[in-house]
Symmetry: C2
Subunit: 219 residues, 2 copies
């Protein structure tokens, strides 16, 4: 019974996500869905990313949370369009929430759309938002076993960002084993190591972003 | 439609949880449900706790994960009964999973039962496991805004453990503001600060445990 209803909810979501994907393709919006545990540093990563992009870049961000508009406030500092989606209890973003948030935005004015999901390594995995790629973020403070414990999100994401590497001297985290765990779940997966407080690895992340966007919309 | 079915699932869970609660009371099993994000240190906290208890203590642990039996292996080192519940995709433990895991355990042989939930700050909040109290754990690496962003679990838990305080010199985390955020969501909530790698604050946690158990089963 539970499974059947979940399948219905997901198939309705898949329809809406498919419509979103078609809109993104038509308007050449490159959309990324960032997924992680609470506190892995998604917002900080987006802050650094928005700061690094030229002011003329056509970039926008949607940021999801159960409560508060804190993240939208933080991201608005960079001067790009930002909107908070407050789910009010729901543990993930779905395609209808993203569709509603985009209603009053002109997609022709957006080249890159970042969607920061609710902090949750499990549920957002099942909800397609029409994005070009999912990105999974985890921090070295969380432990190198996370890919093995939450394999689904690592299996479906195109890029894994291992964040807060500035904390490596202070936590029991073996970075080589972490990368091996990522590759055990998703062979050949792209992995970038970053620190948003110490500005490490951001070039590699921005290079991935540019390459992946060119792949989605070749000139 | 979604909401109605969720209500049904929850009301079925509440029935099973109520039956579990009655069994816990009848057999004088003090049961705690530990909830946190992935990687906040629930397993490390339980490792230190089991090590600190006398070998004669009648303590047991159930540990939930989407995949892997890593946590049960870690906890088994202390020599107490431990069982892994692998949910295979489900983002929370429910009362039926706990009931099944307890089937072949003699509850009269257990005074304290720790249940380590799946790493997730949202979904486990809604699923009563018949426990005496929920405990929410978050680490200083996750940021002091977590109580405001995920208020439900902080509102329903009796104790908040702020873990990994050994990392305070290396992360942008204002501990006073974090405690104020906890109290904004849950006025007067008990807060204990711990580091499992540096063995800090464990006495305060063990004292809370003893007090709360005596409150549940006064001699």
């Amino acid at each position: 019974m539970r499974v059947k209803v979940e399948e219905k909810v997901l198939s309705k979501n898949d329809e809406l996500a498919s419509a979103l994907r078609q809109r993104f393709v038509r308007h050449e919006v490159f959309c990324l869905n960032l997924i992680s545990s609470p506190g892995s540093g998604k917002t900080a990563l987006l802050e650094r990313t928005l700061e690094a992009l030229p002011k003329t870049a056509k970039v926008a961000a949607l940021t999801g949370d159960v409560q508060t508009e804190n993240d939208a406030r933080r991201l608005a500092g960079a001067g790009f369009p930002v909107k908070q989606i407050t789910t009010g209890g729901t543990c993930h973003l779905d395609a209808s929430m993203v569709g509603r948030a985009l209603e009053d935005w002109d997609l022709d004015g957006i080249d890159i759309l970042f969607v920061e999901n609710v902090g949750n390594l499990v549920c957002p995995t099942s909800y397609d938002l029409g994005e070009h790629a999912k990105i999974v973020v985890f921090s070295v403070a969380e432990g190198e076993d996370k890919p093995l414990k939450y394999p689904a999100i690592f299996a479906v994401s195109e890029l894994c960002i291992i964040n807060k590497v500035d904390l490596l001297p202070y936590v029991p985290f073996d970075i080589e084993r972490a990368v091996a765990n990522v590759h055990q779940v998703h062979p050949g997966m792209a992995v970038v190591q970053t620190s948003c407080t110490k500005s490490l690895g951001l070039d590699a992340w921005l290079a991935w972003l540019e390459r992946r966007r060119a792949h989605a919309f070749p000139k």
